[in-house]
């Protein structure tokens, strides 16, 4: 149904929603006896903000893990930019321009904010170990060049004052922001965000929303967002997928999803 959505639909702000960039077809994933995902199909279009919602344990995080190769579905096809891929590891996904954040913060605790975000550029840094050991000429130039990009990210996220702080010492909300920074440093084309606003207060949520919208708007980054806050989801998403018990029960623009009887039922917990 949604594939009929006008190819050239323009969202507010002049963003052009483009071609399908990621196409998930009949994905099924199980762990032992548990079916985490059952026959799920949907697509993600270039430049859009695509949200995945659903009650706890619905399979949202598993879906994200399938997208960037952390989990391998037992059934189904994934097409990224039209190319089918069966098995891919997270490394390949990263090399293809997919970056993500985690539901439980997965920062490198012993490293500073700056170093954490620098690791986000690791795939773009080409010097080898010997050049690093000498840290002269090429290696130093490379470090400085990437440091500039990282400083842009730091400015963008307004975290200049904490750049030399070990991330373990930061409050939760800021850690989430740094994790977004590490993902952004990779200059991804597809950004997967797993509950980036969970546990935040209203103000922090507003900041995070603004960053997500700005990333989408300024860099044209395609975003897949998992979020429990319905207000936020309905506000910023172009299209929403609803999962429940590993099955897709709704898919469409926010307004349509909001009025979908199955979705309402799932959220009220009346039927499955």
């Amino acid at each position: 149904m949604m594939n009929d959505m006008a190819q050239d639909a323009t969202a507010e702000g002049g963003r052009r929603i483009g071609e399908v960039i990621l196409d998930l077809q009949h994905i099924s994933l199980s762990f032992g006896g548990v079916n985490a995902l059952t026959d799920i199909s949907f697509d993600v279009r270039e430049h859009e903000i695509r949200s995945i919602i659903g009650p706890n344990g619905a399979g949202k995080s598993s879906m994200l893990n399938v997208m960037n190769g952390v989990y391998h579905p037992q059934k189904g096809n994934i097409l990224f930019r039209g190319e089918p891929r069966q098995k891919m590891d997270p490394h390949t996904a990263a090399a293809q321009g997919i970056a993500r954040t985690f539901q439980n913060i997965a920062l490198f605790k012993g490293m500073t904010v700056l170093d954490n975000i620098m690791t986000g550029r690791n795939l773009k840094m080409k010097c080898n170990l010997l050049e690093h050991a000498l840290f002269w000429g090429k290696a130093q130039r490379e470090e400085i060049e990437h440091r500039k990009k990282v400083e842009d990210v730091i400015d963008f996220l307004e975290i200049q004052s904490i750049r030399k702080t070990p991330v373990g010492r930061l409050p939760y909300g800021l850690q989430k922001r740094v994790e977004l920074g590490r993902a952004l440093a990779a200059e991804p084309t597809l950004l997967l965000l797993d509950e980036p606003m969970a546990g935040m207060n209203v103000e922090e949520k507003q900041d995070m929303c603004r960053f997500i919208l700005d990333v989408n708007d300024q860099f044209g980054t395609t975003i897949v967002l998992i979020e429990h806050d319905m207000g936020v989801v309905m506000d910023i998403s172009d299209r929403v997928v609803v999962l429940d018990y590993g099955k897709k029960i709704g898919d469409g623009p926010p307004d349509e999803v909001k009025n979908n009887a199955d979705v309402i039922a799932a959220y009220l917990g009346t039927s499955h």
């Binding site: 920062l107 010097c127 000498l134 840290f135 290696a139």
Partner: protein, 355 residues
């Protein structure tokens, strides 16, 4: 002079990325280097050079090696001494079997042998972690020492595997006095410490630390945990190997495989625990501490008991103090002396105005 960074603005990322961004630290480092390269050779006694300074330097190098693996890449190892042995016996055989082999080249080749062996024994780290990996490195420790004794070729068929280091000769210049041996050791250690510092603050170091802190997240941003771990094993073993070769050539003169036993591996592990896990400076502090502690205790005991020292008390006391310190650092200050040093500097930065 006050220890301040006020007024020292970093105008470029290049300046901000220096090893010592604060001017007082740079001056301090220059002074320390001048003392160790110029003053020490002039004034230190033979005893100080041979029994304290040379071993401290060599152990610092080995501790840097272990710190790269354990402190930075997060892979626990109990085989440091065995990797030292590979370096020592490797360098010995290159010197022995290749005519006109320059010592420095033999030193590097010895280190490279150790790096290769390190990578081989690092392979289990791709599958197992923590305690189980420590046990696997323990196997390396026993296997390597056993192999060096078992195959007489390694020690050129000498009895019980003892080797006598050849005379060290660089560009026709013999390093045969304690002062010269000290200077040679110092030069090698300073250069390698600088390279290690560069590594840990570069992308290589960040990859190691990323794998240490959270390997799943590291993989998702495109770091290959396998490469990071094996490169850490290689570099770490290289450092231990060079330390082992120096141990034979500038410190002891004659060594045997059994000398590189588990005790020595533990000693190096204690150095990084006390000095600071994940710190190059800490490697030096830890090595100095562990070499000096027994000497201080000895002097202390002699002055307390004035010659009537009960037999065995000294060495037992040493063990007790070691044990106590290890427990203290593991529980109270896991980042060791190096962390205490930075805390002191932070205090000094604010002094005399707290807050």
């Amino acid at each position: 002079m006050l220890y301040r960074e006020a007024g020292q603005f970093k105008a470029s990322y290049k300046e901000d990325q220096q090893i010592f961004p604060i001017r007082q630290d740079r001056v301090g480092m220059a002074v320390i280097l001048a003392i160790f390269f110029l003053a020490v050779p002039m004034f230190a006694s033979e005893y100080w050079l041979q029994a304290i300074l040379i071993p401290v330097l060599i152990f610092s190098l080995a501790a840097i090696g272990l710190n790269i693996l354990t402190g930075y890449a997060g892979q626990l190892s109990l085989g440091s001494a065995a990797f030292m042995a590979v370096g020592a016996f490797g360098a010995y055989n290159f010197m022995l079997r290749i005519d006109g082999m320059p010592f420095i080249v033999a030193l590097i080749l010895g280190g490279l042998c150790s790096a290769l062996v390190g990578v081989a024994f690092g392979l289990p780290s791709l599958r197992i972690k923590g305690f189980y990996l420590a046990v696997a490195t323990l196997a390396a420790q026993f296997f390597i020492v056993w192999a060096l004794v078992k195959f007489p070729w390694f020690s050129n068929h000498s009895s019980s595997g003892v080797i006598s280091a050849q005379e060290v000769n660089i560009l026709g210049f013999a390093f045969d006095t304690p002062v010269l041996k000290y200077l040679l050791t110092l030069a090698v250690v300073v250069v390698l410490a600088l390279l290690a510092k560069n590594l840990v603050r570069s992308t290589t170091g960040r990859r190691w630390m990323a794998v240490r802190d959270m390997d799943v997240a590291a993989e998702v941003i495109g770091i290959r945990p396998m490469r990071a771990k094996l490169s850490a094993f290689a570099v770490s073993s290289f450092y231990c190997g060079v330390a082992g070769a120096l141990y034979a050539y500038t410190y002891l003169g004659t060594v045997e495989p059994e000398g590189f036993n588990l005790d020595l591996s533990f000693k190096i592990l204690f150095m990084i625990i006390i000095g600071g896990v994940g710190s190059i400076l800490g490697s030096f502090l830890g090595a100095a501490f562990i070499v000096l502690l027994p000497i201080f205790l000895n002097v202390f005991m002699h002055s307390v008991f004035a010659g009537s020292l009960p037999a065995g008390l000294g060495s037992n006391l040493e063990l007790i103090v070691f044990g106590g310190l290890i427990i203290f650092f593991l529980i109270v200050e896991p980042h060791g002396l190096a962390r205490l040093w930075t805390l002191a500097k932070d205090k000094l930065r604010l002094w005399p105005f707290p807050h």
